[in-house]
Amino acid sequence: MTPPSETGTDLVSAYLDDELEGQDVAAFEDLLESSPEVQEELEDLRKVISLVGGLGKVEAPEDFYEKLNRRIRRRQLLQPQTSSKLAMIAVPFQVLSILVILTVAALYMMSELDAAPKSIEREVLVPIGNTGAPSDAPRPVQP
C-alpha cells in the first residue's frame, strides 16, 4: 500500500499510471473530488505526459553497426592486451631491437672519441690600445 501523503498530490503520478492499489484508488478519488488543487495537478501532469509521449520516434543512423564495428576493430588494434599471444611474441623482438639500437649508438660514440682531435683554430687576440690604428686623441704639441 502506498504511504499516505499530506496533500495527495504526490499520488497523482501513480494514479495516472494506474499504479495505485484498490484502497488507495478509492481514497485518492475521494480526495480528487474535493480538492481543486489535486484536480489541477492531475490535469497538468496529464498534459505533460501527453506532450512527452508525443515526442517523435528517433532512429539510429543507417550505418550505425558498420561504424560501431570499425570502432571496435580500431580499439582491438590499439589495445595489445586483447591479443595477448601476439604481445607475448612481440616483446622479445622489441627488447632485441632496443638493444641493437643502443649498441650501434655506443659503437658510434666510441669511434668518434677514438678519432684524432681536430686542430682548433684559435682566434688571435689583440690587446686593446696596441692596435696600431690611428687614434682620435690629440697629439702632444712639439716645443
Partner: protein, 226 residues
C-alpha cells in the same frame, strides 16, 4: 555490409497483467531469442553481436538522444554502450532479461557522460536536423499522439516542431535521474516493473521520484500547457 534481418525488439511497456497474454508470449519469444544470441556471442559468434546491435540500436540511440539532446553525442554514446556490451558479455550471467541489463549499461553510460559533459560546459542543442520529420514518419512516434498532429493548419509542422524542440530542451535540462525516469516511462513506455529492474530503485522511491520529475518538467513547460 548487408546486415542481418531487423527483427522487432521485445515490447516493453506492456503491463504485467494477466489479461494481456499476447504481449507476454511475444516477450517470452523475444527473451528466448535474446538468450540464444547471448549464448552465441559468448561463444565468439560476431553475427550474434550484429543481430543484437541491430535489434536494440534504435532504442539505445533514442534513450541516448533524449538524455543528451544532441544527435552526435547520442550516436557516440550509443556506440559506447554496445562496446561495453561486447566487452562485458562474459560477465552477464543471464539472470533477468537481457534488454534490462543492456538498458542498465545504457542509463549508467548516459549519466556518466552527462557528468563529463557538464565538466566541459557542454551546451545541449536541438538542431534543425533533429526535428521529427528528419527522423521518422510522425505515425511512428512514441506512446503518445505525435506533437505535429496536435496543431492544425498550414503552420502545423513548424509549430509542432517548435513544441517538440521545446519539450526536448526542457527535458534535457532536468536532473539526469529525473530525465531518465521520464524517458523510460513516458517516452519509451516501460512499466514500473521494468524501470525498477533497470534502475534498481525501490518501488516507493520510483513513484515519488517520477512524480517529482514530472512536476519539475511541468514547471518548465508551463507556457506550453495551456
Amino acid at each position: 555490409m548487408q546486415g542481418a534481418a531487423k527483427p522487432q525488439p521485445a515490447a516493453p511497456g506492456a503491463k504485467d497483467s494477466d489479461d494481456a497474454p499476447a504481449p507476454i508470449t511475444e516477450r517470452a519469444k523475444a527473451d528466448a531469442r535474446d538468450r540464444q544470441l547471448v549464448v552465441r556471442l559468448k561463444a565468439g559468434d560476431q553475427r550474434a553481436f550484429e543481430e543484437l546491435v541491430r535489434l536494440y540500436q534504435d532504442r539505445v540511440f533514442a534513450l541516448s538522444y533524449r538524455m543528451l539532446g544532441n544527435r552526435q553525442e547520442a550516436e557516440d554514446l550509443a556506440q559506447e554502450v554496445f562496446i561495453t556490451l561486447h566487452r562485458a558479455i562474459g560477465s552477464y550471467r543471464g539472470e533477468g532479461r537481457f534488454y534490462t541489463w543492456l538498458y542498465r549499461i545504457a542509463s549508467n553510460t548516459c549519466k556518466n557522460r552527462i557528468k563529463y559533459l557538464r565538466g566541459r560546459h557542454f551546451h545541449k542543442s536541438v538542431s534543425v536536423d533533429d526535428t521529427p520529420e528528419a527522423q521518422a514518419p510522425a505515425g511512428e512516434a512514441g506512446p503518445g499522439v505525435p506533437l505535429q498532429s496536435r496543431v492544425h493548419g498550414p503552420e502545423a509542422m513548424t509549430e509542432g516542431n517548435r513544441l517538440e524542440a521545446a519539450v526536448q530542451r526542457e527535458l534535457a535540462a532536468l536532473d539526469p535521474e529525473h530525465r531518465l525516469l521520464i524517458i523510460l516511462r513516458d517516452v519509451q513506455g516501460m512499466s514500473y516493473q521494468e524501470i525498477l529492474r533497470i534502475t534498481g530503485l525501490q518501488e516507493g522511491t520510483l513513484k515519488s521520484r517520477l512524480h517529482r520529475a514530472r512536476v519539475a518538467l511541468k514547471d518548465r513547460l508551463k507556457e506550453h500547457l495551456s
